[in-house]
């Protein structure tokens, strides 16, 4: 440690394990109220560990202080602008934490008899109905735990659908602009990935699609609006081509925030849709989860949905309907996880849908798209497009992609440098270097949450960083300066991984 650093900063970098001191503790066990039988009698030594796991020995005040200090080394959505493209960082209403924590929800055992969990099952059934209405597809399974898990469900449903018809298809198409989860999912589902190109306006290249769509193709996975933030204007033709060869059309719901109440994937011809409840339906992102990735499907895919399904049964003798878990689904692909899914996430997303209603959800998409187009126009007005032009000069949907190629060429700073300099201005940078088809990509998703003033401020920040770079590119290249740590040696971390503390 250099002599200039104070003891305070040394102490700030300590882990909970480094704060451990033998004899300190927080937990006190309840009193032993049963006979004190010797452990040897209950658990033979051959099955026992030689020494306790070396967990930290710390007191409650130290734990609280440690994690509160750590929390202050995080930037968060509740504090500032977080235009992380493709992640839909919208406001997380505080009500949601309150209702999810009600003991009737939070302390309900997943194997409680359905008769004694009617509130939970009714909530899930209602959420299924709402998601079906938004997707324009009649059947919903809430089970998948995240978007990529929903994708895997979709690919396995596709496999089950084809195999049930006696067809053995081998390929799944994904556009060049696809999220990495799409091709990774295809491989896990036992298919080969075939990439489809995009045309000059950013749409799927229909000629390339026609050339590659044959009867070996099981599915096309598509994000619409695409990861370029553009609506696929040829979506109906795409659906026609894909269905023409007997394949399914899969909707990656990452960008659903652009079109709620405006149009529906089911009407576009999609057979399977996944939702990212943590994006569109505002589950707090938690530093990387939890989320949930429910799926909606058409009639022809329904028989294969995961088990169990939440169903509503007519009540006896005019009683209120009864909600149940249905296991008897002979063509089901089976389970994708334990129990019934991330129920706590469902509670929050259901509260969101009930708060906004149909009109509010439509307004969400309208303002999300308005905010994105305004930000794009305002950046252009500020002259930012000289260095950071839009990758495709069109009206965008809820997000847009800029290319930092001219900035790199003319100002000799990269998109990474721009992003790192933004950290000093107190905003979270947009997604960088994705999608891969755009050089030095910067993907900006403001969401409906943000005010015009926040967007104006962001424009000023970008303009200021570019102005600064014209004078001295080193400023951005060495940024950030004001963060808890500065640029970190990521290559070194991967070369000699230290992924746990040596104790």
């Amino acid at each position: 440690m250099s002599s200039g650093e104070s003891n305070l900063s040394v102490s700030e970098g300590l882990t909970i394990f480094e704060r451990s001191k033998p004899g300190r503790r927080a937990f006190v066990a309840p009193e032993l109220d049963v006979p004190d039988v010797s452990i040897d009698e209950l658990l033979p030594a051959e099955y026992r560990r030689d020494e306790p796991p070396r967990l930290p020995e710390v007191s409650e005040p130290e734990i609280v202080r440690h994690y509160n200090r750590l929390s202050k080394r995080n930037f968060d959505l509740d504090t500032g602008f977080y235009p992380l493209g493709s992640c839909t960082m919208k406001h997380n209403p505080k009500l949601h934490e309150r209702v999810a924590a009600l003991p009737g929800h939070a302390k309900l055992h997943p194997l409680q008899h359905p008769r004694r969990a009617q509130g939970a099952l009714e909530l899930m059934w209602n959420l299924q109905q709402a998601l079906a209405a938004i997707a324009g597809l009649p059947h919903v399974s809430l089970q998948p735990s995240a978007g990529s898990h929903g994708e895997l469900a979709g690919v396995l449903l596709t496999r089950a659908y084809h195999e049930d018809r006696g067809e053995h298809r081998t390929k799944v198409l994904t556009p060049d602009t696809a999220h990495g989860t799409n091709p990774a999912t295809v491989t896990m589902g036992g298919y080969d990935v075939v990439k489809v190109g995009i045309d000059a306006s950013g749409n799927v290249d229909l000629d390339d699609l026609r050339a590659k769509a044959d009867t070996d193709v099981a599915c096309l996975m598509l994000t619409n609006p695409s990861t370029l933030g553009l609506f696929e204007t040829g979506i109906e033709e795409i659906a026609k081509i894909v269905h023409g060869v007997g394949a399914t059309l899969y909707y990656d719901g990452a960008n659903l925030n652009a079109i709620m109440g405006i149009c529906r994937p089911g009407d576009m011809g999609f057979d399977i849709v996944h939702f990212n409840l943590h994006k569109t339906f505002t589950q707090p992102h938690g530093g990387g989860g939890p989320g949930a990735g429910p799926i909606a499907v058409s009639d022809r895919i329904e028989p294969y949905l995961p088990r169990p399904q939440v169903v509503r049964r007519a009540g006896d003798n005019g009683d209120r309907p009864y909600f149940d878990l249905e296991y008897d689904r002979p063509k089901s692909i089976g389970r994708l996880r334990g129990f019934q899914g991330n129920y706590g996430v469902f509670v929050r997303s259901y509260a969101y849908i009930r708060s906004l209603g149909a009109a509010g959800l439509r307004e969400v998409s309208e303002v999300a798209v308005l905010n994105a187009n305004y930000l794009l126009a305002k950046l252009k007005e500020a002259g930012v497009d000289e260095y950071l032009p839009a990758a495709y000069d069109r009206i965008c949907m809820h997000e847009f992609v800029l290319s930092g190629a001219p900035m790199k060429r003319e100002l000799e700073i990269r998109t990474l440098d721009l992003a790192k300099r933004m950290l000093d201005f107190g905003v979270h940078p947009p997604t960088v270097y994705f999608p891969l088809v755009v050089e030095e990509a910067l993907m900006v998703e403001p969401t409906e949450t943000e005010t015009k003033e926040t967007l104006d401020n962001f424009v000023e920040i970008v303009a200021e960083i570019l102005r600064e770079a014209r004078e001295d590119p080193e400023v951005a290249r060495n940024a950030p300066y004001t963060t808890p740590v500065r640029r970190l040696d990521e290559a070194g971390a991967a070369r000699k991984p230290v992924i746990r503390q040596a104790l």
């Binding site: 927080a26 049963v34 006979p35 004190d36 658990l43 796991p53 967990l55 929390s71 968060d76 959505l77 960082m89 209702v99 009600l102 009737g104 929800h105 302390k107 309900l108 055992h109 997943p110 509130g119 209405a133 735990s145 995240a146 496999r159 990495g180 491989t187 896990m188 109906e236 405006i262 009407d267 938690g286 530093g287 990387g288 939890p290 996880r337 334990g338 991330n342 706590g344 708060s355 209603g357 149909a358 009109a359 959800l361 798209v369 905010n371 187009n373 305004y374 069109r394 009206i395 950290l423 979270h428 949450t449 005010t451 963060t483 740590v485 640029r487 970190l488 991967a494 230290v498 992924i499």
Partner: protein, 454 residues
């Protein structure tokens, strides 16, 4: 205007003018007209005030019987442990609650360091050197471990103990159909797994510790049989009993996974919780999910980053070792806070308390007329009984007394048709166990009497 959108009418006018269009409608011009919806979908209903939504959600909650509303011995994968107040207090901080995956490490040191601490704690518990930062939950973690075995040795068959949680077995089966692998089951005898002869076709042997019916398995012997056949050993484990049990890493297990709910996470009707995933050094570069690593910044200051990302979908795409992106960071954070709260001594105290109360319950319950032990193997926190009466009817009788006696094993195990799985946590006292014994005894006796006339 909904309460979560800030744009005023004036803002909208100014913004549309800046864009150069006259209406919001024009922004959607790329969407073919016949796909555009006319008006709002009635199925979604009108908007509601915060207060109204609170009341609706409260009314739904009131129609559930939670672990606060009955005396519950339900376990079978999720357990009613006490979650300390400090866990809620810390994970509700917006700095942990509202950011996303730490793609910008300079402003995410809190989350990244917590991941590193979590990885260290899970590595200590399981005795394996490598941990990721979480996967979705328990059963899908078993599936994810199967996929690592698949990409490691490409062998076509998995041998899974019937002692593995039924949800885990079914999840593995679902996923393996995708990769084209076969899953075969190894039976339980006297509560413990009996492996078939293993050949060179077996990719991995998958067991659970303690197993689904509560029995402590001879993990070392099972792993050694797998190793002789060149197969990997995957062990799904319950983390709290690992305070006492020999860690999987010391038994020769290659991958230890499991459900993390018991570590400071609430029941939540089954989720969100987290799955943990730990492995040998040899499997490091085939791990799924995020991994935090320690490094230095340009000034030499200690810091943490997401590392070994070349395994992951956003870099490797179709060659990635998994498709996982969003996992369960907040739940894993609750896990490491909880483990710090328990501490090195506390986790042993807690596990010993469960061990002794479970032993007491075992003795007390098996002394009831018409109730016997399903197996005699050592147990830590859960025990399996065989009832001399229809289990579902016995359970119904107990529920009528507001005692939930446990899980009916017959739902998943025809061979244990009237089996009952009883879980004990530190929240179930001796008096609670005595009450269960009284209620269960009366229910079995009543069913026996009822059965006589039939």
């Amino acid at each position: 205007m909904s309460s979560y959108v800030s744009a005023t009418e004036e803002d909208r006018r100014e913004m549309l003018a800046q864009i150069g269009v006259s209406s919001i409608e024009e922004l959607f011009a790329d969407i073919p007209a016949r796909l555009r919806l006319e008006g709002a979908d009635g199925a979604l209903g009108p908007p509601h005030s915060e207060q109204e939504v609170y009341e609706e959600l409260r009314a739904l909650a009131a129609r559930n019987v939670s672990s606060e509303d009955e005396l519950s011995f339900l376990g079978a994968g999720m357990y009613d442990h006490y979650v300390p107040a400090l866990v809620d207090s810390i994970i509700e901080r917006s700095e942990f609650l509202t950011p996303y995956t730490p793609y910008q490490p300079e402003i995410s040191q809190g989350g990244l360091q917590a991941m590193f601490e979590y990885q260290t704690a899970m590595s200590e518990l399981t005795g394996l050197p490598v941990s990721n930062a979480s996967v979705y939950e328990g059963p899908s973690a078993v599936g994810a471990a199967g996929y690592v075995a698949k990409i490691t040795n490409s062998r076509p068959r998995f041998v899974v103990s019937r002692g593995v949680h039924p949800h885990s077995r079914e999840t593995l089966q679902t996923l393996a159909r995708g990769w084209g692998a076969e899953v075969v089951e190894a039976p339980l005898r006297d509560g413990a797994t009996v492996l078939p002869d293993l050949d060179g076709e077996v990719s991995a042997v998958i067991v659970q510790q303690p197993n689904f019916i509560g029995a402590v398995e001879d993990l070392s012997s099972l792993a050694s049989a797998a190793r002789e056949a060149g197969a990997l050993t995957i062990c799904a484990c319950d983390p709290l009993p690992l305070a006492l049990l020999k860690p999987p890493g010391q038994c020769g297990v290659d991958i230890a996974v499991g459900e993390g709910q018991t570590l400071g996470n609430r029941l939540d009707f089954g989720g969100p919780s987290f799955g943990f995933f730990t492995a040998t050094e040899a499997l490091l570069r085939r791990m799924p999910g995020r991994i935090a690593g320690e490094t230095r910044d340009v000034d030499g200051k200690r810091g943490f980053v997401l590392t070994l990302q070349t395994r992951e979908q956003h870099i490797r795409r179709e060659k990635a070792t998994s498709n996982i992106c969003t996992s369960q960071a907040l739940n894993a954070l609750a896990g490491v806070i909880y483990l710090s709260w328990l501490g090195r001594r506390g986790i042993v105290d807690l596990a010993e308390l469960m061990l002794k109360r479970t032993a007491y319950a075992r003795e007390r319950l098996s002394a009831i007329d018409g109730v016997t032990l399903l197996h005699e193997r050592p147990v830590v926190r859960e025990l399996a009984l065989a009832l001399d009466a229809p289990a579902t009817r016995v359970i119904d009788r107990c529920l009528a007394q507001n005692v939930n006696p446990g899980y009916a094993l017959g739902r998943d195990y025809p061979e244990y048709e009237d089996g009952l799985l009883v879980a004990i946590t530190e929240r179930r006292t001796r008096a609670d166990i005595d009450r269960l014994a009284d209620v269960l005894g009366a229910a079995v006796a009543a069913e026996a009497t009822a059965g006589v006339g039939v």
